[in-house]
């Protein structure tokens, strides 16, 4: 067998320098006349080890992590030429145990089944991995539209964009509404900061997303598909367009799909222009129509009157990616994973203060603890796990003591957070929860489209209060004021953005009220994160008088002669923390 060298070229890999490594491998192959095959793939989920290079030979596979232009030379020399794998740098292999193996164990890959295992720009490789066999099976066996819808309903698949509405039911509504034209829209407007599941999926396996849409088109009787993708994802858009071209050329898209007379479905990509609210379905459709992306009242639901007032079925990228698998393997097999009301798997983007940040797909029903400590490898720098933020700006913070919560729609909702699209940001003892709430509200406040008064003005007022609290100007009664505003906004907003915007504030008040009180009453930030509330002081016993802090202080607020104890003038200190970080004797205290 020819040795194969595969480089992970997803956005995350490229950001970490994978492109340079890829070019270096090509150069080495040419210069030395090596008999190897070089391949591209996408993200396998181990973002924390990027750039990743996989070498496959007769003995097995070896995944190298943190490869750069220099280390790849040594790896190629030792492994390819001399046949000795460089074990120290292998993060995953089928031949021996590695510390990173736990990241893959416990994962069940359905939506991500092909990500990182094939070249996303090659239809041939996708076909080898069962692409377009599900739609082939449907058309070949003359499965009726109703039967396809029934199969999806039986699988128990719920919308993976965050709402959790049963996907099959949505399809049924669209099918039953008669019209001369219907649409299928794929929502790839992943605006949630800290989430990158949809991007990785589209970059890694565009054909699966297309096939999911083709099946939805057949099942609902739609002939036109639209993928609404963020303009901030240029690589995803490029790969989608390549895949669409390939699918058209090979008869998977267009009229008479796979030669079956009367079938018709085509897809184009619509670039979003940067508005978080366009993730909401009615706003998204307004944006496709070329208008300001503002939500409208429902009903009528899109299945009745959607894009251009025609019946429209909108699903998220991950939802579509599950469809071909369900059709091929059967609804029962999908429903075998998960809990009673939440079937299948869910993809999460792990980020924040976690050792193994990246993309994981886990069966529903796993606990948050298992995700963080078994797959995620625990908290960075051995710090203490404090909370996890689920569901982005619409979600909430779940404290460490509730981390035994099972991941399913209902259990997560019960904590006050939401499942959301799958962003999971881990926070440690140094993260201030008030600041976190302020961060999310700052985001939703800026992204509010302005249609509903409560969302437009209410979030602004809440943000002002939170800002005051974090700079030490909080007043008694602020917490109650925040709660009152929060419930008003939830009750009086038209769309999901406003209805969920107060969640981060409400959950942090619920679980970390003492932190709010410390800010308001004692004017202290227990996490030592809110700059305005900190005091830096020299510890006289430890100070050696080395003058490093005095020299480095950007505002010259530190006095002291050589070999004598220094003093920080509090009136001039801007609390930048430079002295604290630079002191080699731990002689600066912060509180």
């Amino acid at each position: 067998m020819k040795k194969t060298v595969t480089v992970g070229l997803g956005s995350c890999g490229i950001a970490a320098g994978a492109e340079k490594v890829f070019k270096k491998i090509q150069a080495l192959k040419e210069a030395d006349g090596l008999d190897i095959a070089i391949q591209k793939t996408s993200c396998v989920g181990m973002c924390y080890n990027e750039p990743l290079v996989e070498i496959q030979d007769d003995t097995g596979y070896f995944m190298y992590g943190h490869v750069d232009e220099k280390s790849i030379v040594a790896i190629m020399e030792e492994h390819i030429r001399n046949g000795n794998p460089v074990r120290d740098q292998v993060v995953l292999s089928d031949l021996f145990e590695t510390g990173d193996a736990s990241f893959m164990e416990g994962q069940v890959k359905i939506a991500l089944r092909n990500c990182g295992y094939m070249d996303p720009e090659s239809l041939e490789e996708a076909e080898k991995r069962e692409a377009y066999q599900a739609i082939g099976k449907i058309l070949e066996n003359k499965v009726s539209r109703e039967e396809v819808v029934e199969e999806v309903i039986r699988s128990g698949l719920r919308g993976r964009g965050g709402g959790g509405f049963p996907a099959g039911l949505k399809w049924r509504f669209a099918l039953r509404n008669k019209a001369d034209q219907k649409y299928v829209i794929c929502n790839a407007d992943e605006g949630d900061p800290g989430a990158f599941m949809d991007r990785s999926l589209v970059e890694g396996d565009p054909h699966t997303v297309l096939e999911g849409m083709i099946i939805a088109g057949y099942a609902t009787g739609a002939t036109q598909g639209i993928i609404y993708c963020r303009a901030e994802y240029p690589l995803a858009i490029k790969r989608l367009n390549i895949a669409i071209q390939q699918a058209r050329k090979n008869g998977y898209l267009g009229k008479d799909i796979l030669g079956h007379k009367g079938t018709d479905f085509d897809i184009f990509v619509k670039e979003g222009a940067g508005a978080f609210v366009c993730g909401e379905e009615t706003a998204l459709m307004a944006s496709v129509e070329g208008k300001r992306g503002m939500p409208r009242k429902r009903p009528p639901f899109p299945a009745e009157s959607g894009l251009w007032e025609k019946p429209t079925n909108i699903n998220n990228v991950e939802t579509f990616a599950n469809i071909p698998w369900i059709i091929l393997k059967g609804a029962e097999k999908f429903a075998a994973y998960g809990t009673e009301k939440s079937k299948g798997t869910k993809v999460f983007a792990l980020a924040g203060k976690i050792n193994h940040g990246g993309l994981v797909e886990v069966p529903m029903g796993i606990t948050i603890n298992d995700i963080i400590f078994k797959l995620g490898g625990g908290i960075q720098k051995g710090k203490e796990f404090k909370a996890v933020q689920l569901g982005g700006p619409s979600g909430g913070c779940i404290p460490a003591y509730l981390a035994h919560t099972s991941i399913d729609y209902d259990s997560v909702n019960a904590t006050g957070a939401i499942m959301g699209s799958g962003g999971l940001v881990v926070m440690d003892e140094t993260t201030c929860m008030v600041d976190m709430a302020r961060f999310f509200l700052d985001f939703t406040q800026k992204e509010s489209c302005g249609k509903c008064t409560f969302c437009r003005i209410g979030t602004k007022r809440m943000l002002e209060i939170l800002h005051r609290i974090t700079i030490g100007e909080g007043e008694k009664g602020d917490i109650e004021k925040l709660e009152e505003l929060a419930y008003q906004i939830k009750d009086n907003s038209l769309c999901g953005l406003g209805q969920t915007a107060p969640n981060p504030v409400l959950t942090t008040i619920k679980y970390f009220r003492d932190e709010y009180e410390a800010h308001i009453v004692e004017k202290k930030c227990p996490a030592l994160s809110c700059k305005e509330l900190l005091t830096y002081e020299v510890i006289p016993d430890k100070c050696t008088g080395c003058r490093v802090c005095a020299i480095k202080c950007p505002v010259n607020a530190i006095d002291g002669e050589k070999k004598k104890v220094h003093v920080i003038r509090q009136d001039d200190c801007i609390r930048c923390g430079d002295c604290y970080n630079r002191c080699r004797f731990e002689a600066i205290s912060v509180r």
Binding site: A16, C47, G194, A195, G293, W308, F439
Partner: protein, 177 residues
């Protein structure tokens, strides 16, 4: 994340506009005129050509594609992608996604604001750099990150970010000499 917008001084943008080659718009107009839902693709096309949405170009598109100027302005100011004023040669996009925020992305914006002498969303006087905050660049495991052109810089702190800018300045000076 939405960029705070500065009001453009009319005089300034007019003088820049007069040098525009509006002929560049012809292909774009041919492609999109008359199609439903063409407003956003047209605006995106205009911005791809000029780097921002110049008034003269908007007037021409309005005339020839039959779109109302006030609708175009409404859409252009709704979406964060569109700019109504020229930007610097290099756009510095500092990621303020959740992951970057907990890894102190604020410190990077602070350091860059000081080093460049501009505020978030503004452009340096020499039209070299525009500083922007963006919601999420999707490289959360490299947090905190910033992006300039196609290049992403990860695991930064304030000093490292300032060094990235300095390196670009040096490269630009070498090219000019």
């Amino acid at each position: 994340m939405r960029v705070e917008r500065k009001l453009v001084k009319n005089q300034e943008s007019q003088t820049v506009d007069t040098e525009l080659d509006l002929g560049l718009l012809d292909d774009l107009l041919k492609k999109h005129t008359g199609k439903p839902g063409n407003m956003i693709p047209l605006l995106q096309g205009v911005q791809n050509i000029y780097g921002y949405l110049p008034r003269a170009a908007l007037l021409k598109v309005s005339r020839e594609a039959g779109l109302h100027l006030n609708d175009m302005h409404g859409v252009a100011t709704f979406y964060s992608q569109f700019r109504l004023h020229p930007v610097g040669k290099h756009i510095i996009k500092v990621c303020h996604g959740t992951a970057c925020h907990v890894q102190n992305a604020g410190g990077i914006t602070d350091a860059l604001q000081e080093a460049l002498g501009v505020k978030d969303g503004e452009t340096t006087e020499d039209m070299m750099f525009t500083l922007e905050s963006v919601a999420c660049l999707g490289c959360c495991s490299l947090a905190p990150v910033l992006m300039i052109g196609d290049e992403t810089f990860g695991k930064l702190d304030g000093d490292a970010a300032v060094k990235v800018i300095k390196d670009i300045r040096i490269r630009e000076q070498q090219q000019n000499n």
